[in-house]
């Protein structure tokens, strides 16, 4: 995928946050989505360029959900004229008035009514013509979306886009009545802001010096009762763990609680510290006691990223994600063998003073560790990117993708999926069989037998759910039902937004939907 390029859009884009006054009209318009992807995500959307091939109902449903939140530009590539059937199932055509007119032009006109800030173009060339004469034109986009494309043409498009990893990612959508699937073709997709729901470690088991000193400086026993009931649980645990480890003469001497009885004993010792039964801070400490024996290490998913060979040879051309990752790896190879500390402290029972003090300790230490990371960088990286990377280090993701349709040629992968996801694979095969059959016999009506024969070329042993899937596909081959189109349009737009903003985690595989039994699944 291309980095953002349009300098004008980038500079007139939203400022991070106008913190002190009411928002301007643009921020008000986008308020409900800015709360999900912030100004950084919005700026990425506004500098993106989306190409949609084939102006079907599914395509315009997808575009609607991208024009509304404000992508920068879209082009619909479609040489066809509006048919009576199109006019009936597509909300972005003007009913019978659109029949006979250019489908792309009619749709662009009506889609642009949704948002003044978006630029839209109709291109009435055919994809074949573009691939023959000017394929590089396609690489000027951020994302390419193709719905129900002829399978031979689709293969050409996918191969072209796959040929260079700077080319845009490709969304392939296929649907037939109640059944549908989509796939995102990308080489690699690195995510810093995955919005992971797991909280970063507070490092209670490896308390940093400032925290340890603070905990030790408090004398719980002589404190006044109000003060006692407002010690933050983090401090209680750090102190309790220190005391526990200090009992060096006991069998566990020097170690945190290991066995079940030890853990129970430790918890009891926390409860025993209470001077009044209703001290909620000690209840919190008891509930969070496991943090004392859950050792803070580098999460395995992040550790796996350190294996990447690109980390060993950083050059000025190395993508920033890997420059940052290399520095992070080095950081974790020294004391305390963990990710840099997060500066965000969750809320906990405490008075303001103690909490704010604790927060300051975490912030100071986090800043210090970020400074270490910055020194370890082998190539320059903008400061705000380092901030974001360090803040989100516990949720880093690197998705590795495959060429479109690679699954159908990979007997082993297919066999693996069959075991766990028979219904999903059946639906995928039925849609694949229909696409191939139609490409080879454009005028023939697909039958169950014909598609079964086609599917057996991919997977000789058909499985549970095959009859259900193929029967539905034969019932309404390529039918673009308004509800299925809207459903797909929502799912695909959601994934396009994730790809463009590099926030949240997109699918890595084939997302299949069956709207008879109302389920989705990812193969």
């Amino acid at each position: 995928m291309k980095e953002s390029q349009d300098i004008e859009t980038a500079t007139t884009a939203l400022s991070p946050t106008n913190a002190t006054g009411p928002p301007d009209n643009k921020a008000r318009r986008y308020d409900r989505q800015l709360r999900l992807w912030a100004a950084s995500g919005q700026n990425a959307l506004e500098s993106s360029r989306v190409l949609v091939i084939n102006g079907t109902a599914t395509s315009t449903s997808t575009l609607k959900n991208l024009v509304l939140p404000g992508i920068g530009h879209f082009t619909i590539l479609d040489p066809s004229k509006v048919t009576p059937a199109d006019a009936g199932n597509n909300f972005f055509l003007n009913g019978p008035h659109s029949i006979g007119k250019s489908r792309a032009e009619e749709e662009v006109r009506l889609l642009l009514e949704l948002n003044d800030g978006v630029e839209g173009m109709a291109d009435t060339r055919s994809l074949e013509e573009v691939l023959d004469t000017d394929p590089e034109w396609i690489s000027g986009f951020t994302v390419v979306v193709a719905h129900n494309l002829d399978s031979k043409l689709l293969d050409r498009l996918a191969t072209f886009l796959w040929s260079d990893d700077s080319h845009p990612c490709l969304f392939v959508i296929r649907s037939s009545g109640f059944l549908a699937e989509f796939y995102i073709q990308y080489h690699e997709h690195a995510i810093i802001e995955s919005h992971s729901e797991t909280a970063p470690s507070l490092r209670i088991d490896k308390a940093f010096p400032g925290l340890l000193e603070y905990a030790k400086s408090l004398d719980f026993k002589t404190m006044d009762p109000t003060e006692h009931s407002h010690i933050p649980y983090v401090v209680i645990l750090v102190k309790a763990l220190e005391d526990w480890k200090a009992e060096a003469s006991l069998p566990h001497g020097g170690l945190p609680p290991q066995t079940y009885p030890e853990k129970q004993e430790f918890k009891k010792s926390i409860v025993a510290m209470k001077i009044k039964p209703d001290e909620e801070n000690f209840d919190e400490a008891e509930a969070q006691a496991y943090k004392c024996w859950t050792s803070t290490t580098v999460p395995s998913e992040v550790a796996e990223l350190f294996q990447d060979t690109r980390l060993t040879n950083i050059t000025p051309k190395t993508p920033r994600f890997f420059v940052l990752l290399a520095a992070l790896k080095e950081f974790t190879q020294q004391e305390p063998y963990a990710l840099p500390l997060s500066s965000t402290l969750p809320d906990m029972k405490s008075n303001t003073e103690n909490y704010v003090h604790l927060q300051k300790l975490y912030k100071t230490k986090a800043e210090e560790e970020k400074g270490v990371i910055k020194k370890l960088l082998a190539a320059p990286v903008p400061s705000d990117l380092v901030d974001s990377f360090v803040k989100n280090a516990h949720g880093l993701k690197l998705l590795k993708g495959k060429l479109w349709d690679a699954l159908n040629g990979d007997k082993e992968a297919l066999a693996n999926s069959v075991g766990t996801l028979p219904k999903q694979v059946s639906a995928h095969l039925a849609l694949s069989a229909l696409a191939t059959f139609h490409s080879d016999n454009p005028t023939a009506t697909p039958t169950v037998d014909a598609l079964t024969a086609e599917a057996k070329k991919i997977l000789p042993e058909l499985l549970e759910g095959w009859d259900d899937a193929v029967g539905e596909v034969v019932r309404a081959p390529f039918a673009d039902l308004p509800n299925t189109a809207a459903f797909l349009g929502g799912l695909v737009a959601q994934e396009v937004i994730k790809m463009i903003t590099k926030q949240y985690v997109p699918i890595n595989g084939y997302c299949v939907a069956d709207l008879v039994d109302s389920w989705t699944g990812v193969i």
Binding site: N18, A19, T20, G21, P22, R28, R29, Y30, D31, R32, Q33, R35, L36, A57, K64, N65, L68, P69, G70, T83, P84, A85, G88, N89, N90, F91, G95, P96, I99, G177, F178, D347, M348, N351, T352, Y355, V356, E472, R475, A476, A479, P482, N483, A486, F487, G489, G490, L491, A493, Q494, Y504, P506, C511, L515, V516, D517, S518, W519, T520, G521
Partner: protein, 424 residues
């Protein structure tokens, strides 16, 4: 003029492929062909509740699938912050009623479809009104309104009259997450049955807000819950008024500064006091499509409908879960059995009331309590409130025998809840 004259050849080319033949999982009772088309396009009457994020999508989908007699209720007017997803509205429509603008838009765009808007509350309408529909789809963001329509449709069911059972399809979204479900009143699990699945709104203890704030949110709550009434007396706070938000923001920011708390912004202030839930077009599209697809399948029998809950989480990949939510025997709306509740013999009436407000599977805002023979506490009218107020400090055990029943009612809900009380 009958709607069909608006149809052009091949208008329903795509949908008709489904309606002209059954699929492998279609019920044998499906009447493929003209009969089902005629029912869908000329006879079926559907009600859409809500013309907001989900409602706009629902109306467009229904119109394209071939529903031609659509009614829509919404009590709201259009705000600029709706325009990032409510795609039937334009900047010029800001301030106008959603139901009316949406209905006009659909009728202009999709010829031959009649959309009848009602700009007002669902509670304005009676059983006769709801009885006229074949199906009801709900795209609401209010729990209270959903509980009301759910209870109303359950109460309307007359076992002697199959027509009185109106399938209710309910959708809801929050950010990248959402759910769609089919409720067959009295037959399947109802909205009330699943009340405990709702995320509990974050409530901050008053002592934290008043004495030990730690988060910017605590300072904002202080400004809106304690400072506003202290300074403005009875003057009502309007969370849609930017000047009110600015006032709250300034108060909260000053308090945060005193306490050295960082992070109070104008936008956060607005988010906390309005309880803003993030909303985007794409999630609404998925959930609305799912609701309309179920409506289409129920109206045509062209395929089995959802039994009965579809849940989607789109933050990490596309994860969804389809399952059957079970009916609760002690559901106050559809269950019939009393809910067992065990309290201490020391619990006062006031404490019991707090419990009823808090409890995840009850959540009744202003409960009134009575036994079969006596009134315990009534929120209204004022005379009755005054007469029963002394009971608030009494122990429940003084007023209700063990295993005795308490009936709980609330003016906001069209049903009562029976509690069977035991003491510990």
């Amino acid at each position: 003029m009958p709607a069909t004259t608006q149809d052009w050849d091949e208008r329903y080319y795509h949908v008709d492929q489904i309606l002209e033949k059954p699929g492998p999982r279609t019920d044998p009772g499906f009447l493929a062909g003209d009969e089902v088309k005629e029912f869908l396009r000329e006879k079926c009457k559907i009600l859409v509740i809500g013309a907001g994020g989900l409602g706009c999508e629902i109306l467009a989908n229904l119109a394209l699938t071939g529903f031609k007699d659509i009614h829509v209720i919404d009590m709201d007017t259009i705000d600029i912050s709706n325009l990032n997803r409510q795609f039937l509205f334009r900047p010029k429509d800001v301030g106008n009623p959603k139901a009316i603008v949406a209905a006009e838009f659909i009728m202009n765009r999709v010829p031959g479809v009649t959309v009848t808007p009602y700009y007002g509350k669902i509670q304005d309408k009676d059983d006769d009104y709801y009885m006229q529909f074949n199906l009801v789809i709900c795209g609401l963001d209010s729990v209270e309104a959903r509980r009301w329509i759910n209870a109303t449709l359950v109460n309307m069911v007359d076992p002697e009259n199959p027509e009185s059972l109106k399938p209710l399809i309910d959708g809801g979204t929050e950010g990248f997450k959402g759910q769609a479900r089919v409720i067959l009143p009295t037959v399947s699990s109802c909205y009330e049955c699943s009340l405990d699945m709702l995320n509990k709104p974050t409530a901050f203890p008053i002592c934290t807000i008043a004495n030990t704030p730690r988060l910017p949110e605590h300072c904002i709550e202080w400004a809106s819950v304690l400072e506003w009434p202290r300074v403005h007396g009875d003057k009502k706070m309007d969370t849609d008024d930017p000047e009110h938000i600015s006032w709250l923001y300034n108060q909260a920011a000053a308090r945060a500064k005193d306490f050295k708390i960082e992070g109070v912004t104008w936008s956060l202030t607005q988010g906390v006091v309005k309880n803003i839930i993030p909303a985007i077009a794409s999630t609404n599209a998925i959930i609305a499509a799912s609701c309309c697809n179920e409506a289409f399948k129920i109206a045509t029998s062209s395929a089995a409908y959802l039994n009965n809950y579809f849940m989607l989480i789109g933050t990490d990949g596309v994860y969804s879960y389809t399952f059957e939510h079970e009916k609760r025997d002690d559901c106050p709306v559809c269950g019939g059995e009393a809910l067992d509740m065990s309290i201490s013999s020391e619990t006062t009436v006031e404490q019991l009331i707090e419990l009823l407000i808090e409890k995840q599977d009850i959540q009744i805002k202003k409960p009134s309590l009575s036994t079969p023979t006596a009134q315990i506490y009534f929120q209204a009218p004022p005379q009755l409130e005054a007469a029963t107020r002394p009971n608030l400090t009494k122990k429940v055990s003084e007023l209700v025998p063990a295993d005795g029943e308490i009936t709980v009612t609330s003016t906001s809900l069209p049903f009562s809840l029976s509690l069977r009380i035991s003491y510990t």
